[in-house]
Amino acid sequence: MKEHRVLSPTAILGYGFPASSFEAGMALKPHVIAVDAGSTDPGPYYLGSGKSFTDRGAVKRDLEFMLTAALEAKIPVIIGTAGGAGADSHLDWNVEIIKEIAAEKSLSFKMAVISAQIDPEVVKKKLAEGKLREYFPAPAPTVKDIEDSVNIVAQMGHEPMVEALKAGAEVIVTGRAYDPTVFAALAVIEGFDAGLALHMGKILECAAIAATPGSGSDCMFAYLREDHFEVATLDPIRKCTATSIAAHTLYEKSNPTRLPGPGGVLDLTQTTFEQASEGTVIVRGSRFIPDDVYTLKLEAARKAGYRTVSFAATADPIMISKMDDIVKAVKERVASNFEELGEFFLDFKVYGQTGASFYGAAGPVPCEVAIIIEAVAETTAHADTICAFARSTLLHYGYEGRIATAGNLAFPFSPSDFSGGVVYAFSLYCLMEVDDPCELFPAQLYQCDKGAIL
């Protein structure tokens, strides 16, 4: 029976894995090593700033294992959403790490670098042609959203990776990519069912998170066959159970049976999860249903200002009981004092009350509460001014019933205020119609000779 084997070393490149698991995976002779390096979860900052949310040293450590083993076994390595957010600066960052490893380890290989950065002019043209679609509940895209964006990326499908593999690439590193695609690309070339390949990728992209006990820093392995795939852990302390694998299908998704991606929907309505032998699970019945018009998901971030925060607390029960009114009064006082500063954002996150909860929580009255004062303004200087004024106003605010008149706040730190730098916000999250799945993802093919690009 035809079989295609895939090693997923870790949930996110840089999250690590035990060497013993990785070696156990290589002993099973995988056809490809693939890893997803990205997520929008850490928020818009990373896409906007072009920085990675994973540590360079940790990413390098993981890649050293992967590149060395794959080149020795003569199998490809595919890295999706390089640098966490997959813009060109993230891609460059990851390519530099690969070149450094190649130089240090005297490795030579053919490398494909696939950009997912989208030119704003292309997006504007698509908007004008009616080929940009709202992706509810995200807001409908506007020209201003496009113009305000500092980095626009699109989630590529498996097609650009397929082209790179066909061109002989041994190491493929991509910008923003739909998470499961790096695991599915080679299987699609080999003629395996796209629905099963993508569902396998959906499970492998979080590596051992889908096992029990789960871990984001351990490997997973999959065997893709004609009408099913089988997933297995590589660390004897973890097992795949039908429940753990099925439950992972729910994770971070709006609907467990319908997973939309580039070019189509992964339909899991007929999917079954069967406990195979001790610790492995067989999955059948997942189907890929192509869309009539191929769409890509766009993501972008824009600059939203500069942030300064101050951390404080109170242990005064009278103040705690009046916190809502006090915060409101301090906000009004700050606003009236700085009308000339233009727009700014001031927030008080009151931990112990509703600092973390979106929907409020009427719990027991806490004996202490922490307060983070947050100011976001057009410049760091303005944010510093707003934050400092809000802090001193709150410190000495004479609320009704006040008995402790020396100061309302306990500061753990001196200085009390911290600059958080640039703040970004998501600015685009919508679908874009394309004629060709590869048209916006130019691949550059290089010969990397011990770190030198030829």
């Binding site: 299908t249 729910l250 998704k253 709006s254 609907n255 999860f273 600092g355 909860s357 998501f426």
Partner: protein
């Protein structure tokens, strides 16, 4: 009355992309899940009341038998990381579900 926290193995919240928040309730026992799903215990209206939010912003309540799970997906009150954010990953919004009984 059954306390959800007594019959669920997992109760969690998480972003599903930057604009949605999704809640998973995974039951310990198949029979309890089936009873919960068959009786339609969790509906958009029940969830909206529990979370003190508009029912129109509860997008779906879906039972998923392979994992003995019920999934609720809602509109995030703001995009992840927007000004006013409290929980970038959305992973700490499960509190009200812990208090739920039926």
């Amino acid at each position: 009355m059954t306390k959800l926290i007594d019959v669920a193995a997992v109760i969690r919240s998480k972003n599903s992309g930057p604009y949605e928040l999704t809640f998973d309730i995974i039951f310990k026992e198949q029979a309890v899940f089936e009873d919960f799903a068959a009786k339609n215990v969790m509906t958009k209206a029940v969830f909206a009341k529990l979370y003190n939010m508009p029912e129109s912003e509860v997008l779906s309540v879906i039972a998923f038998p392979p994992s003995k799970a019920v999934k609720i997906t809602i509109v995030r009150p703001f995009a992840s990381g927007a000004l006013g954010e409290k929980d970038v990953y959305g992973a700490q919004q499960h509190g009200p579900l812990l208090t739920f009984s039926y």
